[in-house]
């Protein structure tokens, strides 16, 4: 575990997490949430938890993003906050 890489990835995770909550478009929010999940996967690889990392990469960053984008396609992109 390299602490510089750890700190950079943690700050990027923090930035993408805040961005996913604060953008005013639900489709952008879904895509940024996918980026957040993939950064989380990189963080777990760096911590040595490879099994958790590939589960997160397939299921968290892949399937969840597809579900969310499909749901937004069936509902609406509009959000007030």
């Amino acid at each position: 575990m390299i602490w510089q890489l750890d700190l950079i990835l943690l700050l990027l995770v923090l930035i993408t997490g805040i961005a996913a909550l604060s953008v005013r478009d639900l489709l952008s929010s879904a895509i940024i949430l996918g980026a957040y999940s993939f950064l989380m996967c990189l963080l777990w690889t760096e911590m040595g938890a490879v099994d958790v990392a590939f589960t997160e990469a397939t299921v968290g960053a892949g399937v969840s993003t597809v579900f969310f984008v499909a749901a937004i396609y069936h509902t609406t992109r509009r959000t007030k906050d």
């Binding site: 995770v13 909550l21 989380m40 911590m47 968290g60 969840s64 749901a71 959000t79 906050d81």
Partner: protein, 135 residues
């Protein structure tokens, strides 16, 4: 000050968890509440995974056997200090699956709510329900 800097990762996990809690409580849009729930769950999983990290060159928990003995291990040569603790990994693998299941249920409920009320904003749904009960 040393206490804050030496445990910087725990502080960042707490900040991330509180951002997720803020999203669940304060955001009005129902899809944003789901995003906040995902942030909250991943921060807790991240905390648990970080408890398995060991300093001093510990690697992934796969026992490396002796190549001269066809991969068998000489008794007494494998020490727990060489490998990461695999128990939090396995527990959090289950938690990720539960996280995706709750996310799928939440997304399905979002689609049903939109079909019924035509909006995803919490206050607009409350307004529509008030009008329905009044008439």
């Amino acid at each position: 000050m040393d206490f804050i800097i030496a445990k910087y990762n725990y502080w960042i996990y707490i900040i991330l968890m509180m951002i997720g809690l803020y999203g669940m409580i304060a955001k009005n849009n129902l899809a944003k509440k789901v995003v906040g729930m995902t942030l909250f769950q991943t921060s807790i999983i991240l905390f648990f995974i970080s408890t398995s990290v060991k300093s001093g060159g510990a690697t992934v928990p796969i026992v490396m056997g002796d190549p001269h003995l066809h991969g068998h291990v000489i008794p007494g040569t494998v020490h727990a200090i060489q490998y990461l603790n695999p128990l939090p990994h396995v527990l959090m693998l289950t938690a990720i699956v539960v996280m995706v299941a709750t996310f799928g249920i939440a997304v399905a409920l979002l689609m049903r709510i939109y079909k019924r009320y035509g909006t995803l904003e919490g206050d607009e749904i409350v307004e529509i329900r008030k009008q329905e009960t009044a008439s």
